[in-house]
Symmetry: C2
Amino acid sequence: MGEFELIDRYFKRPTTRAVLGVGDDCALLQPTAGMQLAISSDMLVEGRHFFADVDPSTLGHKALAVNLSDLAACGARPLAFTLALALPRVDEIWLAPFSRGLLALADSHGCELVGGDTTQGPLNICITVFGEVPQGQALLRSGAGAGDDIYVSGTLGDARLALDAIRADLALPAELLQDLRHRLEQPTPRVALGLALRGVASAAIDISDGLTGDLGHLLKASGVGATVDASIAMNLIAVRAHSTWANGLFSHEKLLQCVLAGGDDYELAFTAPVAARDAVQLASHQTQTPITRIGQVEAEPGLRVVDDQGRTLQFKAASFDHFA
Amino acid sequence: MGEFELIDRYFKRPTTRAVLGVGDDCALLQPTAGMQLAISSDMLVEGRHFFADVDPSTLGHKALAVNLSDLAACGARPLAFTLALALPRVDEIWLAPFSRGLLALADSHGCELVGGDTTQGPLNICITVFGEVPQGQALLRSGAGAGDDIYVSGTLGDARLALDAIRADLALPAELLQDLRHRLEQPTPRVALGLALRGVASAAIDISDGLTGDLGHLLKASGVGATVDASIAMNLIAVRAHSTWANGLFSHEKLLQCVLAGGDDYELAFTAPVAARDAVQLASHQTQTPITRIGQVEAEPGLRVVDDQGRTLQFKAASFDHFA
């Protein structure tokens, strides 16, 4: 099967919203009047972002999910995406489930595949996603103010625990490992929450590289600092509530590390004025997205993590760095 | 140097047209009222699209040029682009000239770098470019009609000759090799010509995989066929006019092969009604882009290549296929 047949078979579908989809030199989108276009691009590399033996269907899901998560963090509604794909060889056993997982998530968000590129090379998946947001309403990293509350959606740390468990080949209860794997391999982009937070949140970012690192980016962009309560943050790791959870399987310190600097969570961290607490709860309720208030923005720069006695924990605000 | 410092040093610049550039979860563009957004994405892989020892500055140029060429083929004006980059390691000796070559071409087209991604992995460059075109005025592959003239911009075949010469380590006169290399490594995207052809050309495509292959895509999309004159097409290869050209260095057949199916040309192939000949010449003149009329669109499907006696040449309409 050649390049063009591959595209036709797995990636070319009629577009319903784009003016022109796969098959010409460019795709064409017709922007809605009064809307701004939000754009994000992510590249996934084998061995770096996923294991070679990962289920191609979940990989297809994740490749788009990490991009949709960026749109969510801006409060943008997904419209379309392009897919550039380097493949070692044409392998239909791989391509069929990959495109199925990818397009299932795309369909669930009304996000059309409109173009891209395929080539021969070490496995590499690069997706660029487009969304729209009313002019001036995008959630930015730079809008947090001293006194604002800090929230996190969903759960944190489980994806990193899964990564470590898989890497170290830990013998975990099957059901537990499966749940952890799901968090690592099939993150849920918080698109609906992002949309509901327009006009409510003062700043937002998606947590891809770890809570403290990404929250640190938000604080820096806003020119503020914050204090986060570690004892509340600890409750964010879902694994502790798991029925097959065996106490002592992981140390408290390990779990906290995963929560604070695990990475691969694809949850939203956002800030909102205290006066918006009801509105934040409403956004959470309307979108059926659990959220947790974990701290407070402060004028003093830097991110402080404190225990339930208010004592500052010695925690290096680390973030995942692809070249560190 | 880490990921974020790398981005700051080499790729983050103030944006003048985009609402928001590098540094948040998404970039934000404000579409112009009445305009459609044209999008194209290309991925370049080491060993496939360029040699490992290529000058990083020309690689930066080419990575964007191949994308701008797609905008040109649609008659779209460049606005912005994203860059996703997988690098084996942080190498400033490579990054500095790469970003210089990339941004020099970007600046010359007023095309802003607004976002992207960097990660560790086998060298891979994925650029997604955005342009705008008035609603309904994009040049498509599908508009050619029987009787239309077929044109090609610039020169064809020299890039492939360069590739073959480099691969085979041919001993060519230095000046000749340098000119050939330039065509291979620093293609000129025909953006101005594409803009001038709005409302003039009936269909257009950029020649990246070879004339016959890409023209074949255009004809198929338009539901027509064509005859191309090989003796005219032969004049498209610039190397024959070169002062250090040694007759007999390459066979006539080899040169014709390069012209018809060489690839990496990044010229425009386009069609226009006979009644538009003056308008086509004007577009060529105004944009200082040489163009050559090489054949005629016909109702009968298929692409026929004939010699100066009108005899059909047995030429397989081949196109570059990354998986063939």
